[in-house]
């Protein structure tokens, strides 16, 4: 009988009232207003649960790989390997993406196939080259776990754990992964300190049409959140945005990555082809390749790029390094909660 089942279930009886504490997301006012989806308000309980789920290999089929297995804190939550390795040893064809200020990004993945962090987090769990699990299995494992049922209750106040709650919690945690304390922020936004001469020259190259990085990597997030072909290839083994839109005009377009913490996130580009930032700068300086969909903002394509001198390259590199935020990669709130 149904009633006797309920009586037998100690968890329902023991649960305290559902009374989550709203999470106050604090960030400097020079960062834009973050829009939080109405159906996933942030709570202390949700963020803390999301952090556990992000670090817990329980989300993978053989319980060996967590999100953090490919998105590692020390590298601003990306993978130092060119291609991450899934639980059965299979490798993909795209570099993992760094996770920083991700709450401001409407379209996720290199080809923008997911809209919103909740939708994004559904994918890695069941991706055959990543965590290779199934959602019913994950939900089952979590429901039979010693701690998770209470934690989900505290965060969402529903009797059953669902995959929607799992991704909501992860998304809440990801929205807290904010960086606004780099040297760039101190100098430009808070008027504390000065650039070195080289950094200042790099700043000018970046923010004028000399280097013209800002048209795509501009603004305080260092990305326009749009898709471009930045002249890497003439034929495309990976067609990028076209795979999602089916439009040949989108061939070889990829999401503009934000450049915060870029010093920490090697290798670079969607296929991790460049091992260093020096190689990236050489690409924009003299390595551009023409193709029909190359972005109209790319300059001097016929010459291979913007033709920076060695000194200009060094300055641009020095500037990019001012975007490193060590407080972000050491923030106790983002650390593995199982290692505390």
């Amino acid at each position: 009988m149904a009633s006797s089942c309920e009586d037998d279930d100690p968890m329902i009886i023991d649960r305290p009232d559902y009374d989550p504490t709203p999470y106050s997301l604090d960030y400097p006012s020079y960062l834009p207003i973050m829009e939080i989806p109405e159906d996933n308000p942030m709570t202390e309980e949700g963020v803390s649960l999301g952090r556990m789920l992000f670090y817990d290999p329980i989300l993978s089929a053989d319980s060996t790989l967590s999100c953090a297995g490919c998105h590692k804190m020390e590298y601003s939550f990306t993978d130092e390997r060119q291609f991450s390795v899934g639980i059965d040893g299979s490798v993909g064809t795209r570099q993992a993406m760094h996770i920083v200020n991700i709450g401001w990004m409407p379209d996720l993945f290199w080809d923008g196939r997911s809209q919103g962090l909740e939708a994004q987090a559904l994918e890695p769990v069941i991706n055959p080259i990543e965590m290779m699990d199934t959602w019913p299995n994950v939900v089952n494992k979590l429901s039979n776990h010693d701690d998770y049922p209470d934690l989900f209750w505290a965060a969402f106040g529903e009797d059953q754990i669902t995959k929607e709650q799992v991704v909501k919690a992860i998304a809440q945690f990801e929205r807290t992964m904010i960086s606004g304390d780099s040297r760039y922020d101190l100098i430009v936004e808070r008027n504390e300190g000065f650039f070195t001469d080289a950094e200042l020259e790099g700043f000018e190259i970046f923010n004028t049409e000399r280097g013209d990085c800002f048209h795509c990597h501009g603004g305080i997030l260092f990305t326009d959140n749009l898709f471009h072909n930045n002249g890497l290839d003439s034929v495309f083994p990976d067609i990028g945005l076209e795979e999602v839109t089916g439009d040949p005009l989108d061939r070889g377009l990829f999401k503009t990555p934000g450049l915060r913490n870029i010093e920490l996130t090697a290798p670079y580009m969607h296929d991790g082809r460049f091992e260093t930032l020096e190689e990236v700068i050489d690409h924009y300086s003299e390595g551009l390749v023409y193709s029909e969909t190359i972005d109209p903002l790319m300059k001097q394509i016929a010459q291979g790029g913007i033709q920076l001198t060695d000194q200009e390259k060094a300055s641009l590199l020095a500037f990019l390094k001012t975007l490193t935020d060590t407080s972000f990669i050491n923030n106790p709130a983002f650390k593995n909660p199982f290692e505390d």
């Binding site: 834009p32 936004e189 200042l200 501009g218 016929a302």
Partner: protein, 249 residues
């Protein structure tokens, strides 16, 4: 060195497209924008046009701000608004906007600024949204936002090589460079707590001619700090707009 003063400025942030979320109050004009090239409706990417300087070209992106709308009453007064409108070809919601609470009367002209005036065109002058951030003009020493991004490719003919053009307008080296535009309405609009539709047209070819022929090859791809190029565009921009039709709903 550019130092942004965003702290505290949010109070000044101007309501942009958000204004459209509420229902308009009586006395409304709905504006619908169409972009044309030499009289034909503009198509991004797929159409090749011929520039007055003799270069076949296409258009890949078009984004800009319009601001300071005023309606001119036939009695000589004006109804001034603080509406700022961001428009982007390919994003339909940005191709219309409205002005409401227009006082009853008869109007025969519309004037506005192409771009932003000196009060708004400061760092942090617009609300800190992703759209506005993408229009920032971060050139050291200069201020504010791009007024227009008009981008595409052209065939330089002589070489057969396809080159890019970026017609970016904005303030540089102390020159504001916004364009003040006045257009006649094709017939008078009589507002009396009613609603009108106004079809506005911007012909992109006019940016490239009249009074000056703008040659992509002459100015090159980088014109943000080139005041000569900005002056040429500013002069050409005066006649790019027209109003094709006004209808009472």
């Amino acid at each position: 060195m550019k130092m942004k003063k965003l702290l505290g400025l949010s109070v000044l942030a101007i309501l942009l497209i958000t204004a459209c979320k509420e229902d308009p109050e009586p006395g409304t004009i709905n504006f619908n924008i169409t972009h044309k090239v030499d009289g034909q409706t503009m198509e991004l990417n797929n159409m090749i046009y011929m520039s007055p300087a003799g270069h076949p070209f296409d258009v890949k992106r078009l984004k800009y701000y319009l601001s300071n709308f005023s309606l001119h009453n036939t009695n000589g007064t004006t109804f001034d608004t603080e509406v700022i409108h961001y428009c982007e070809e390919g994003i339909d919601e940005t191709k219309s906007f409205y002005i409401d609470r227009i006082p009853s009367g008869t109007y025969d002209k519309l004037s506005f600024v192409y771009g932003l005036d000196e009060d708004t065109n400061v760092d942090g002058g617009l609300e800190n949204t992703l759209t506005n951030i993408n229009m920032e003009w971060p050139i050291p020493g200069d201020q504010g936002y791009h007024y227009m991004k008009f981008e595409g490719t052209y065939d330089s003919l002589s070489t057969g090589v396809i080159l890019n053009y970026n017609l970016h307008t904005g303030a540089t080296q102390g020159n504001q460079n916004f364009v003040e535009i006045t257009v006649d309405l094709p017939s008078d609009i009589t507002i009396d707590k009613n609603t009108w539709e106004v079809d506005m047209v911007m012909d992109m070819m006019e940016w490239l001619q009249n009074p000056n022929v703008y040659d992509f090859a002459e100015f090159g791809q980088a014109i943000m700090m080139n005041q000569t190029a900005q002056e040429v565009l500013k002069a050409n921009g005066v006649d790019v707009w027209s109003v094709e039709k006004v209808v009472q709903e």
